[in-house]
């Protein structure tokens, strides 16, 4: 197999790869070829498995030049990407991967999309039948590449007092900040991004997450549904007119100075803690998580609809 390695070295030199990189690639191939030999593959089989050194070298040099191309296209400045008049826009639809999302209210009478470290050619940002779309382009059918986190941030400024029908955010790892949002529905689906909602007024809130943490402060909802695996949730100074439904595996839930009518909490090992938290009814179910509520005002009754835990403690004081 000496010839394969020698040919590969020659081809890599031809492609102008640097010596460190060539040594590394040759090393990897020595290792893999020796494993193939240990497995008892014949020389012919190995040649077939490893293919043509020239093609391999070409492929590897393409990688190297791809990387160089990337860095030049991304600007670090925060800049205005698009403005859209507010007439007719009632829905915002984000489909992103790891880009941070910052939603703010502004005194302008237009929707403004700003970006930081955003390479525009990887995104579609457009308005169609009342919906503002901000999405990462599909990559399967175009050239597949990059996606490392370059600190990309999208900032969406919404005219203040503008009431949206739907704010829909789908992402994998975006950190999301929402301030002063008014919407009939807020739907968030994420895997690991953290979420911050402040001073917002939302009718239906739906959050599906795996491991991201969330903080909700100074906001009001009609109802909220949260499903989550390991993220922690904190509610502060928040009022939920009707139901708050939480399903979690190991995330903790903490509510302070907040109100809700009907609270349903289901968890495996996550703890539930309330302080100055006055739901009208409570349904609690956990396997090993503890449930603790400490309220000062003993006159305000909390009706416990059901309270089940296998090994956790339940304390309502």
């Amino acid at each position: 197999m000496k010839t394969f390695l020698e040919d590969l070295r020659k081809e890599l030199k031809k492609q102008n790869l640097n010596d460190v990189e060539i040594a590394d690639i040759i090393n990897d191939h020595e290792e893999m070829i020796s494993q193939a030999m240990e497995e008892g593959l014949s020389e012919d089989q190995i040649v077939e498995k490893f293919g043509d050194p020239e093609q391999l070298a070409e492929e590897l040099s393409k990688n190297a030049s791809d990387d160089e191309g990337d860095e030049t296209e991304i600007s670090n400045d925060s800049s205005l990407i698009k403005t859209i008049s507010k007439e007719g826009i009632d829905t915002v639809d984000f489909k992103l991967i790891h880009e941070a999302i910052d939603i703010q209210a502004s005194s302008s009478d237009q929707f403004e999309v700003h970006g930081k470290n955003i390479a525009l050619k990887y995104y579609n940002i457009f308005e169609k039948s009342g919906t503002l779309h901000i999405e990462r382009k599909h990559t399967m059918d175009i050239k597949l590449r990059i996606m490392r986190d370059h600190g990309e941030i999208f900032i969406l400024k919404i005219p203040k007092d503008n009431q949206l029908k739907l704010m829909d955010i789908k992402s994998k790892a975006s950190d999301i900040n929402i301030d002063h949002l008014k919407a009939d529905s807020l739907e968030i689906k994420t895997v690991s991004g953290d979420l911050n909602i402040t001073n917002s007024s939302i009718h239906d809130g739906q959050i599906k997450a795996i491991s991201g943490d969330a903080q909700i402060k100074g906001s009001s909802f009609d109802s909220v549904i949260i499903s989550n695996v390991s993220g922690d949730y904190r509610f502060k100074n928040t009022k939920i007119e009707n139901s708050l439904t939480i399903g979690s595996v190991s995330g903790d839930f903490f509510a302070e100075d907040s109100e809700a009518k009907d609270v349903v909490y289901r968890a495996v090992s996550g703890d539930f803690e309330g302080r100055e938290f006055y739901p009208k009814t409570l349904t609690l179910k956990s396997v090993s998580g503890d449930i603790t509520i400490n309220n000062k005002d003993k006159e305000r009754p909390i009706e416990i609809k059901s309270k089940k835990t296998l090994s956790g403690d339940v304390n309502i004081n």
């Binding site: 020796s34 050194p53 590897l60």
Partner: protein
Amino acid sequence: MNAQFKRGIVELCVLSELVDTDMYGYQIINNISQHLDVNENTIYPILRRLTKDGYFTTYLEESSQGAPRKYYKITKVGFDYYLKLRDDWDAFIGGVYDILNKGGKKHEDILRRFKERT
């Protein structure tokens, strides 16, 4: 098959192989070439590029036979990227099948469509 397109699919498979366990290069190549007609010179550059892009990290581990092996480990960003790519793939292949199968997917259906073409 178009080389660019094939690379994208193999990339998705490489990521998927590493979701639940770390593997050494030869192992990944072996696993994938059992199912797909691709060889080392497609897979290795992908491993290298995904490592460069921070989707994988590598470490060396002694093996009972022979030289130490270079293991590839998927990172958090790598996993996020995999999820995204999978969604793209599902949407894309779903769309392809919607088109191909709109008149039925059995051979007789396809033949009938051809015979009855207007």
